[in-house]
């Protein structure tokens, strides 16, 4: 018997009520807005039985330039056993651009977090190898930030 998604949300509200700022629904999937300190306990809770969100589908970041909490981390989770999807969002300040790494919970978070670090400059505490994954050594700045200059080029070779 597959679990209903209302049960997951109810259990989360009971256990982490003070850490969840609000819940939302978009495109038929639930969104959980949480405080960043509660990320590890919440994903550990969801990873285990009976919810079993065993898949981390994606992990990314959004830059809301000009807002107080500028960056938003987005985690897409999927439960194969219960056929449930859940999105977790949390806001980060530009002055304190750090969040706990979830590589201890899902292994594939390793490269996804490196990508977010490469493109947005978010630092993941506890990541085993936080290094740029796409851009080369010596590349300055973070190209997917909204304030990265549109025409700024940093060639490795002198171009003609």
């Amino acid at each position: 018997m597959a679990m209903e998604k209302q049960i997951v949300l109810k259990d989360l509200q009971e256990k982490f009520g003070s850490e969840i700022s609000k819940t939302d629904l978009q495109f038929g999937d639930d969104i959980l807005h949480i405080k960043k300190e509660a990320l590890i306990p919440i994903v550990n809770f969801l990873r285990q039985a009976p919810y079993e969100f065993t898949m981390l589908l994606d992990l990314t970041c959004v830059d809301y330039l000009g807002e107080e909490d500028r960056f938003e981390m987005v985690y897409h989770l999927f439960s194969l056993k219960n056929n449930l999807r859940l999105r977790i969002k949390t806001r980060l300040k530009e002055s304190d651009l750090k969040i706990d790494s979830i590589t201890s919970v899902w292994k594939n978070a390793n490269w996804l977090e490196r990508e977010v670090y490469d493109m947005f400059g978010v630092e993941f505490e506890g990541h085993p190898y936080l290094k740029r994954i796409f851009m080369y050594d010596g590349f300055e700045g973070f190209p997917l930030r909204k304030d990265y200059p549109l025409r700024k080029r940093q060639p490795r070779l002198p171009l003609k």
Partner: protein
């Protein structure tokens, strides 16, 4: 039975060319030899590689132009096919591959991305490989049709034939 065979017209052996030699210029002979023995090195980085595969396989018979042999070592090849998007990160690799090729060597930019950067005008992509290495023939298209590739090959052959050829003991 023997009579019928005897009545058949006799097959005459081909008459040899008078004197047994032909005359040409060494420069043109070398150009003729070089244009029909283009070993190519595919520097495939993106989706144009699929179109390269169809162009290089039996269906379009690239071998009739003498360019059927793909070498996966730049040191053994004459023609560098740059197939696909070249990023800033990949640029030093392409330069190294070009430098590793021995003379004489030719470069073909295959597809819109290699020609001009294509649709990718951003922080990551080199806006045309001619900003890194010299290019002989440009093939437009996203991706180019195999016919376009063969046309470019013929154009490169014409260019090679017209070259002032270089050789090792040539007097400078």
């Amino acid at each position: 039975m023997g009579k019928i065979i005897d009545d058949l017209p006799q097959w005459e052996p081909h008459t040899p060319i008078q004197g047994g030699f032909i005359t040409t210029k060494f420069n043109e002979l070398l150009g003729w030899a070089r244009k029909f023995s283009l070993f190519h090195y595919p520097f495939v980085t993106a989706c144009c590689g699929m179109e390269y595969m169809s162009a290089a396989c039996a269906h379009f018979d690239i071998d009739r132009f003498g360019a059927g042999w793909t070498r996966f070592s730049p040191r053994q090849s004459d023609m560098l096919l740059v197939v696909g998007t070249v990023t800033q990160k990949m640029a030093p690799v392409l330069r190294t591959v070009y430098n590793q090729m021995t003379n004489p060597k030719w470069v073909v930019a295959f597809g819109a991305c290699a020609v001009s950067g294509g649709i990718y005008d951003n922080y990551a992509v080199v806006q045309g490989i001619d900003r890194i290495i010299p290019v002989d023939v440009y093939i437009p298209g996203c991706p180019p049709r195999p016919e376009t590739v063969l046309d470019a090959l013929v154009k490169l052959q014409e260019k090679i034939q017209k070259h002032e050829q270089e050789w090792r003991w040539k007097s400078k």
